[in-house]
Amino acid sequence: MSVFVDQHTRLVVQGITGRDGSFHTRQMIGYGTQVVAGVTPGKGGQVFDGVVPVFDTVADAVAETRANTSIIYVPAAVAASAIFEAGDAGIALVVCITEGIPVLDMTRVLPYLHERGARLIGPNCPGLISPPRSKVGIIPGNICRPGRIGVVSRSGTLTYEIVHQLSGAGYGQSTCVGIGGDPLIGTSFIHCLSAFQADPDTDAVIMIGEIGGTDEQQAAEFVQQAMSKPVIGFIAGQTAPPGRRMGHAGAIISGSSGTAAEKMAAFARAGIAVMKRPADVVALLKERL
């Protein structure tokens, strides 16, 4: 089993004919994801690679194919609009890969989805994968193995690094979720931890955070109060200078708040095993399982 995506996921790809959208659609189909529709305004009626019908709007795609999940690969300038459209069409889970969406756009998008009961993962995220057959996003399928470890992360390639270590040591994953590196995101650590705690097929969770904000501190409190499964944590940015954005829009130490030290201390207080470096993950997991 898994969280958020599984064999019932019926995916519509927004931006399916674009450079990134078309490449990753082929990867997702190859992995086994049910890609039931694509959307590119003006290209309705085409068939992508001879197998996926393309529609002008998400509403058309939902009406024709019963798509329940959407993934967004459109440019930043139109990405907020694409999320609104998915919410309007009744999509329950919207995953937005796009980086560079203005934060004020997100302050309008998030309540819009919330009022419709829809969940957003991202933006500025690699999406999610439930090995062996369901992938919504860009996480490389070949580094993942089916298994019982949940992974949740604000990062992309750092997640791959840690998943690679897990798979190499024989620890497969139930689901890996990239929640995104932006300051305002749709799904927090707590949402994911809560889903992993409830998932009967997840035994332990790896939580990969970074500098900036207080999501990790809040997640630590949640772990202490509401989780019985072991959690292993990592925080990137121990050497990051204050006041500088470290690539991710959300990765910034403001004043003395949001530092790696503060987050690692919160993890330790909550009983989370704290990795000093990514290579510690396997040893800590063995210790806690």
Binding site: P102, T107, P140, N142, S155, A236, G237, R244, A249
Partner: protein, 380 residues
Amino acid sequence: MNLHEYQARDILRRHGIPVPAAELATTADEARAIAARLGGGGAVVVKAQVHAGGRGKAGGVRLARDAGEAAAHAAKILGMTIKGLTVHRVLIAPAAEITAETYVGIVVDRSSQRPVLMVSAAGGVDIEEVAAQAPEKIHRLAVDPRYGVLPHQALGLALKLYRDLTQARAAADIMQRLYGAFYAVGASLAEVNPLATTADGALAALDAKIVIDDNELDRHPELAALRDSTAEAPSEVAARQAGLTFIKLEGSVGCCVNGAGLAMATMDLVKYYGGEPANFLDIGGSSNPQKVVSALQIITADPSVRAILFNIFGGITRCDDVANGIVQATEQIPLEVPLVIRLTGTNEDLAVAVLTKAGFSALTDMDEAVKQAVAKARAA
């Protein structure tokens, strides 16, 4: 992107907020002329325009009794360094007699996921200090972006700062206008500190700070044009033009990584093994070899770099593209420091073949690569 005070004042003035007249000077003579014109023979304030907090404490804000003294102060402040940044401009404003100072600011709050209007009667000081020492002195309102700051909300907050209803109404109007400005320019922070009460009872924004969300700059070219590249390290300007995210640090191990999280973790691991990272550099998800060439140019231009570490986890990025970029770059730029390359993931085998043929060796383990880079930086 940070705006200078004079740029922020212009934006607020355009949105109808009372901002006293002030003009920019780049020389002492200009400062004298402006002081004579605006000051009417009276006192003026000479303020360094630099992207650093604590300008006053650093001696970058001075009161001048007349135009002559304004010129003398400007001569001292222009060219001085505040927190590593050289002052190229000063703002000259008439000195006002102030009876009260408050704070009005708006930030995007990550927890409530909304813009939050913050006000305090404790104006004129660093609001972060107020937040740390006397958080009860700050009043907050999470703004619903569909409606903005509603009149009764603004007045309610203003009445916490002003007993006089006329002043409270004026402050409420300023709060609503500040929100309008904040939204119009796509700010992540906009503040007036202090919002001063002058001797005649009027309110005026004596200092302003605006930070623009970098993601807004594509749709606001007029704001992008306000960027002051002299306030950034030249290497960071070059990196931005090449489409790379680069932050210069003080160490000796140059880092070139794909992905921001992995780049931070790589820097941390350099430190873990006893080294110091020379930079943060994310070459992004693109496999364009030209980006690798630009990255190496920027890293090798830093004289404190003693070894260069590549850490690539190929997912979308193809390792062979990065390997080709490294080979091309080293053909163009002869390397004077040792290079340690770690590549794993998509097309790793092809990458190793490309590198081996060019005389480089490649590792697949991150810890091993970092250890070697730290040792080589030490030995150099």
